[in-house]
């Protein structure tokens, strides 16, 4: 019973993450990769992602504080960030990254700052949700 309940809960949580667009099929790919050899593969990857991305976010924040903005560098950071978030299937985060890159392209400083805030926000949200998910 309890187990079923737990499983169901996991599924519900998981489904909601997908439905709400936090995760996409890439996440499913990761889940498929999980096997007996690495039973916690997905969790490990996600943890790694968040550790890495914290660093990138920090770098981007620093870069955003230096005026005039170095759009190239920012674009680079975002590109990297986008790469990893798309690899784990973090859909919303990836979308925000794309927005950010668009702003960089047109050299819209304000737009960049705002976009970055959104990126951070989505990132934090996802982190929270996934942590909950894994705890279950």
């Amino acid at each position: 019973m309890e187990l079923n309940h737990t499983n169901r809960q996991i599924n519900v949580t998981r489904n909601s993450l997908f439905e709400q667009g936090y995760l996409d099929e890439q996440f499913t790919q990761l889940e498929d990769l999980q096997d007996d050899v690495n039973p916690n593969f997905v969790e490990e990857i996600v943890t790694l992602f968040f550790a890495d991305s914290m660093r990138l976010i920090h770098n981007a924040e620093t870069a955003l504080e230096n005026y005039p903005l170095d759009f190239c560098k920012l674009d680079d950071y975002m590109h990297q960030f986008m790469g990893s978030s798309s690899s784990i299937g973090a859909k919303k985060v990836k979308n925000e990254c794309t927005q950010f890159q668009e702003c960089c392209k047109v050299r819209n400083a304000d737009g960049c700052t705002r976009a970055f805030q959104r990126v951070k926000q989505e990132h934090a949200t996802l982190k929270r949700k996934l942590q909950t998910y894994f705890q279950v």
Partner: protein
């Protein structure tokens, strides 16, 4: 999975390739495919590793390009395919791609979150055999083994073709394909059985006149490594042959190549050989240089004309000028400019090239160039006589351009080849071959980063005719700015603007035709040299390319009677030689890639030759087969 791996390991040291005789291995294929993954993003790296393991591949991951290169270098046969990210902090993915193409000739798959057309195109032109968009799905990874097979197949084909007149290759170019170039390793392993016949044929013929051994970049690298290991004094052909362990390679091949190499070294070390730069490898009379001067003018003009090479022309011109100048007047300054051009090679082609080749890629060139120039100038001076600066041709070589030219430098080996070739004129043939091979490799491999720039002009020249294929295919990487005297003014090819400098072709042809009246064609000489180079390396690639000579492709038609045309104005017509450009349909870029390597060297050679006087070239070129042996040392 584990079992497979073990099996693989046991069968061939982890390489299923060698499983020719190991039924188990082949059955398991593609399991056990040895993949090297390079990505600075640890998350992606881990995911990829997992996915590849799920495909039953053997995975090695690293997050730095330099580390990846060292893995590859330490274990030349240790990997079957490389997957690399495009954006990396320590080295640009495309640069890595070039390096790998030049040095190891492994299939490289690029990947990136960036799916814009320009980047993908860049990957293609640099020789990537595939481009994956992140996020990478496991399905995309399952089939990467095809790239390995395809490459092996091509190499073997080249190998065979020379012997067996494949329909793909124009019969007149048997030389380039195979002979031990490209993938000696592969040859040994995989296709051995298939090739055996051909190899035997070749070997047999070698007893008489040695089948032309195409000294591809790779082959030459192996040769140089063996020589260095033994010590130049103690390096005897027999030992070198043993060390190299290349099937199908005969002692005589090595001996003649060694002879040339010695000459080349002697030349490099500052001894200004009177009237002959070539001495280097070519060992033959420097005759080749004569045309060079003419080339310079032509090439530069051609390059300039080519428009496309916007970048190149100045460079190539500059280079040419530099070369010319260098030769004529030790002017270092001139040379410096030239540095940009592949000419860097000229100077110390060998020496510099080696060190530079990796660095050159763009910044170093300038500095290197300078160094090179000095060296070259000394060398060149000998020849310098006529180096007249190209009139009206801007000599400002931008580092960038130069770099590209020097790209070949990356493959130091390649550059060496180029250099060797040029100088030797006739002799260089063999050398060129090596170089060209290297270059070709480099170029084809996509190493050419300049590709974008350069090669356009040359392509036009491509004379669909005998594209002999200088299959520069070798990822010449170095955008040699060979100012190949393309009659149309496209010096193209040679000016390796980033792309492959078809110049090789030109030279190649020149050599082929022997008749170069180097005097006027000046360039022709280089061409032949270039040609030589080309032939080998990409053998198959070139050939095919040549065949396609379609518009953009610069085909090298080696056997060109057009030599005489090489004078520059005709060069375009000469087509044979110049065209090296990879007739690949994907656009001349590839071609340029080849030429790049050649370009630099070729240009230099051409220039040198010109100075020398064309007449000499005639003798030397006996490119017919690029066989090193043929070249009189």
């Amino acid at each position: 999975m584990n079992n497979n791996k073990q099996m693989m390991a046991s069968s061939s040291g982890g390489s299923w390739k060698s499983g020719g005789g190991d039924g188990g291995v082949s059955d398991q294929f593609p399991a056990g495919l040895r993949v090297l993954v390079v990505d600075d993003d640890s998350t992606c790296l881990m995911i990829l590793e997992k996915m590849l393991r799920h495909c039953n591949y053997e995975v090695t991951k690293c997050n730095r390009a330099e580390v990846a290169l060292s893995y590859l270098r330490e274990n030349k046969n240790g990997f079957d395919v490389v997957i690399s990210d495009v954006h990396m902090p320590d080295m640009d993915g495309f640069k890595l791609l070039e390096h790998i193409g030049l040095e190891m000739d492994l299939p490289v798959i690029m990947m990136s979150a960036d799916d814009s057309k320009s980047v993908v195109m860049k990957g293609v032109t640099h020789g990537a055999c595939d481009y994956l968009i992140k996020p990478v799905r496991i399905e995309a990874l399952r089939n990467i083994w095809q790239h390995m097979v395809r490459r092996r197949k091509h190499e073997w084909k080249d190998f065979d073709q020379s012997a067996s007149a494949d329909e793909q290759k124009p019969p007149e170019e048997p030389d380039y394909s195979s002979s031990a170039n490209e993938g000696n390793n592969w040859k040994n392993t995989k296709r051995r059985k298939d090739e055996e016949d051909e190899a035997e044929e070749r070997d047999d013929s070698s007893s008489l006149k040695k089948p032309r051994v195409v000294w591809s970049v790779e082959l030459h690298q192996q040769f140089v490594a063996a020589v260095n290991q033994l010590g130049i004094d103690k390096a005897v052909p027999k030992k070198i042959l043993e060390l190299m362990n290349v099937p199908g390679l005969m002692r005589e091949n090595v001996a003649s190549h060694l002879q040339k190499y010695r000459l080349y070294l002697r030349r490099l070390s500052g001894s200004q050989l009177p009237g002959g730069m070539n001495s280097g490898f070519m060992g033959g009379p420097d005759a080749g240089y004569g045309p060079m001067s003419s080339l310079n003018g032509l090439d530069l003009q051609a390059l300039a004309a080519s428009g496309q090479l916007s970048q190149l022309p100045p460079q190539s011109l500059a280079t040419l000028q530099a070369v010319a100048l260098g030769r004529s007047n030790n002017s270092k300054s001139v040379i410096d400019q030239r540095n940009i051009f592949s000419f860097e090679n000229p100077k110390s082609r060998y020496s510099e090239v080696q060190s530079q080749h990796l660095n050159n890629n763009n910044n170093i060139n300038n500095s290197n160039n300078n160094n090179n120039n000095n060296n070259i100038s000394s060398n060149i001076n000998n020849n310098s006589k006529q180096m007249n600066l190209l009139p009206g041709i801007p000599t400002n070589i931008e580092p960038k351009q130069f770099v590209s030219l020097h790209q070949s430098g990356q493959h130091s080996f390649g550059s060496m080849n180029n250099q060797v070739q040029i100088q030797m004129g006739g002799q260089s043939q063999s050398q060129h071959q090596v170089q060209s091979n290297t270059n070709a490799h480099m170029l084809t491999r996509g190493a050419v980063d300049m590709s974008s720039k350069v090669y356009n002009p040359v392509v036009s020249v491509s004379q669909a005719s005998s594209v002999n294929s200088y299959p520069l295919g070798g990822s010449l990487g170095n955008p040699n700015v060979r100012a190949t005297p393309s009659g149309d003014g496209n010096l193209d090819a040679k000016v390796s603007v980033g792309g492959i400098v078809p110049s090789y072709d030109v030279f190649y042809d020149l050599s082929q035709t022997r008749e170069w009246s180097l005097q006027d064609s000046g360039l022709t000489y280089d061409q032949s040299s270039l040609l030589l180079q080309h032939n080998h390396s990409s053998g198959s690639e070139m050939r095919e390319q040549n065949q396609n000579l379609g518009g953009g492709k610069v085909m090298f038609s080696p056997a060109v009677d057009t030599r005489t045309h090489l004078n520059g104005s005709n060069i375009g017509q000469q087509r044979n030689t110049y065209i090296k450009t990879e007739s690949h349909s994907d656009g001349s870029f590839h071609n340029t890639m080849y030429s790049e390597q050649y370009g630099q060297d070729d240009l230099l050679a051409a220039i040198l030759k010109q100075q020398q006087g064309v007449g000499q070239l005639n003798n030397e070129f006996g490119f017919d087969g690029y066989a090193l042996d043929d070249l009189p040392v």
